[in-house]
């Protein structure tokens, strides 16, 4: 009798446990469906509508928003080009600087903690604060340009000239976030076994050879993941641009994410903004899939 009851008892316990599992994940999953998955689906629906934020009028629009995007909106190609330029400059700059800093800071020397603390500090500082300071330092006759004048260089009016404005946004953004990639690289570097380095230096390899032949290949999977995360992150830089240049001068720093916000909450064209958001969705999705595929391949290679 006991023997017959035990499995049934265990089964009902397992069922009870599963019920608790659902209960535990319920708040998160309900929130996820309401505020993340639902809205992602809704963006697709919105993108086929004319939606005026001010009047509240909603009309079906078919593919009109996408037609506007591809045919009549002269700003859209500019915005895409800006986004591309932003990412193409920001990612390598960020990664190289992060790698360099991580490489320097993993030396076991005094004061490294101080430098790590300093390089990481902008990461936890609010973007508004960081940008307020840099906006001042990048004014025509202030800050940076006073330093440059000291060494005999006439600096440009950084935030008022299209190319320099883009460069300013990129560089100040790199300074703001490079600390995050730096610490990720640092922990990856610390996990690399030292024996290889030592063996190589016994064999007469110099510092550069060790770095390029031994350290870098072992870091490759981390670099790859960090790179894709930085690409995706670079597509989401909104507040920095809004606060620093407001997309200007003459749309020179208006990237896709900024343009979405601008169309939705300044032009009040929610339908068109949703169509732009659909484009962003597919760009991010592509980046994610590329990362996933590359990651699989790398992990396969490792084994």
């Amino acid at each position: 009798m006991h023997a017959a009851q035990a499995p049934r008892h265990r089964r009902s316990l397992a069922r009870q446990d599963a019920a608790i599992g659902y209960l535990f994940v319920a708040p998160q999953m309900i929130g996820f469906f309401l505020f993340v998955l639902g809205p992602i689906l809704a963006v697709f629906v919105f993108s086929t509508q004319h939606r005026d934020l001010l009047t509240g009028v909603v009309e079906p629009a078919g593919l009109a928003n996408f037609q506007t995007m591809l045919q009549t909106d002269r700003t859209f190609p500019r915005v895409l080009a800006n986004s591309l330029a932003f990412t193409v400059w920001l990612v390598p700059l960020n990664l190289c600087l992060a790698l360099l800093l991580a490489f320097l800071l993993t030396r076991k020397l005094r004061g490294m903690i101080f430098f790590r603390t300093l390089f990481f500090a902008p990461v936890i500082t609010s973007t508004v604060a960081w940008v307020i300071v840099w906006r001042f330092l990048l004014q025509g006759d202030q800050g940076i340009n006073q330093f440059l004048e000291g060494v005999g260089i006439q600096g440009p009016n950084w935030l008022r000239e299209p190319n320099w404005a883009m460069a300013s946004v990129i560089v100040t953004r790199v300074l703001k976030t490079v600390g995050l990639n730096m610490i990720i690289f640092m922990s990856a570097l610390q996990n690399i076994p030292r024996e290889y380095d030592e063996a190589a230096s016994v064999d007469g390899a110099n510092g550069w050879q060790i770095f390029f032949r031994i350290t870098l290949p072992q870091l490759a999977p981390t670099i790859l993941v960090v790179m894709v995360l930085t690409v995706i992150g670079s597509l989401q830089v909104f507040d920095h641009i809004l606060l620093m240049t407001n997309g200007g001068p003459a749309n020179a720093t208006s990237v896709l994410i900024f343009y979405i916000w601008f169309q939705a909450f300044r032009v009040f064209d929610m339908g068109y903004a949703s169509a732009l958001a659909v484009v962003l969705f597919f760009i991010v999705l592509t980046a994610t899939v590329i990362q996933w595929v590359l990651r699989q391949r790398f992990i396969y290679n490792e084994r």
């Binding site: 963006v43 320097l104 990461v123 936890i124 604060a129 300071v133 001042f136 202030q142 991010v284």
Partner: protein
């Protein structure tokens, strides 16, 4: 002979002193170069903070002084008083603080519950649900903010703090928390929990009395990440809040301008210092935990 000897000893000594210096330089050349390079690299990180903190004490005109001054000529403490006179800054401060606290508490509850369930409890569909959650990490908040705005508008929640509290708990930030909690729970030896069950504890008891106390480091990480996320968040307040009384600090800082939209630099910087200071102080005290929290969240992405 004697003199010769002295001079040669002298010479030898001198040579050895010079030698010591050059030896020191040769021996530490790499180290010195390293410190030099790091110091040069730290200027664009250090200077903005230096300028922010010192200029917050300068009179408006001194901020524009030519050449730029590294320290205030006169320390003007009134800047800080004017921050509170210019707009309801104390209220903005309180708004930011209480929202960040609520978001943090909410995220801790939601993330530890679902992180634990995904790590330890077997239930049909758990893998699928977890994968779905992960996909949320990749989607920018900006993609979902338009429908969320419409949604909140329909519920009459524009110009309330409710969206600023709910969205981070249940959106991508909360998912990061769940992910961290799950990773940590997976690392706890299962024997500990089985011993709890043998002692007649329920699932809740095992979670609450055994697993959660061990997961303290993960809870600390989620607390740090979430608090900072909320404290520094800009897009959500910008979109959902119009009423000045309901502003959070980032909006408040941005609105310290004159009637032409030009920054009132000294007041704005004093307000910026007041905003950044608590975060930097906590960072100074607990920098290891802060850095490790970010390292965890970064590598898990």
């Amino acid at each position: 002979m004697n003199a010769n000897m002295i001079s040669s000893t002298h010479l030898r000594e001198e040579r050895s002193l010079m030698g010591q210096i050059s030896l020191f330089i040769a021996k530490h050349k790499n180290k010195l170069l390293l410190y030099l390079l790091l110091s040069a690299l730290s200027i664009p990180f250090l200077f903005p903070f230096w300028w922010m903190f010192t200029s917050a004490f300068k009179p408006a005109n001194d901020i524009f002084a030519y050449p730029l001054t590294l320290l205030p000529q006169t320390w003007r403490l009134e800047n800080f008083a004017e921050v509170f006179a210019f707009q309801p800054f104390a209220r903005h401060y309180f708004n930011s603080l209480y929202i960040a606290v609520l978001v943090t508490i909410g995220t801790l509850i939601v993330s530890s519950l679902s992180g634990y369930a995904f790590a330890r409890i077997r239930f049909p569909g758990s893998n699928l649900l977890f994968l779905l959650l992960l996909s949320a990490l990749m989607m920018p908040t900006e993609v979902t903010i338009i429908p969320n705005f419409t949604f909140m508008q329909a519920l009459g929640l524009i110009d309330t703090h409710i969206p600023l509290i709910i969205l981070p708990i249940l959106g991508a930030n909360g998912v990061v928390g769940t992910f961290l909690m799950r990773q940590y729970f997976l690392g706890i030896p299962i024997d500990l929990e089985e011993a709890g069950f043998l002692d007649g504890m329920t699932r809740w008891g095992v979670f609450w009395r055994i697993a959660l106390p061990i997961a303290r480091p993960a809870l600390v990480a989620v607390t740090i990440l979430t608090f900072l996320y909320s404290w520094n968040s800009f897009l959500e307040p910008l979109v959902f809040i119009n009423n000045n009384d309901l502003y959070t600090l980032p909006l408040s800082l941005r609105s310290i301008t004159d009637e032409y939209g030009q920054s009132l630099w000294n007041i704005q910087l004093a307000a910026t210092v007041l905003t950044v200071l608590p975060v930097l102080l906590i960072y100074a005290v607990a920098q290891r935990q802060v850095v490790e929290s970010f390292a965890l969240s970064g590598t898990k992405g």
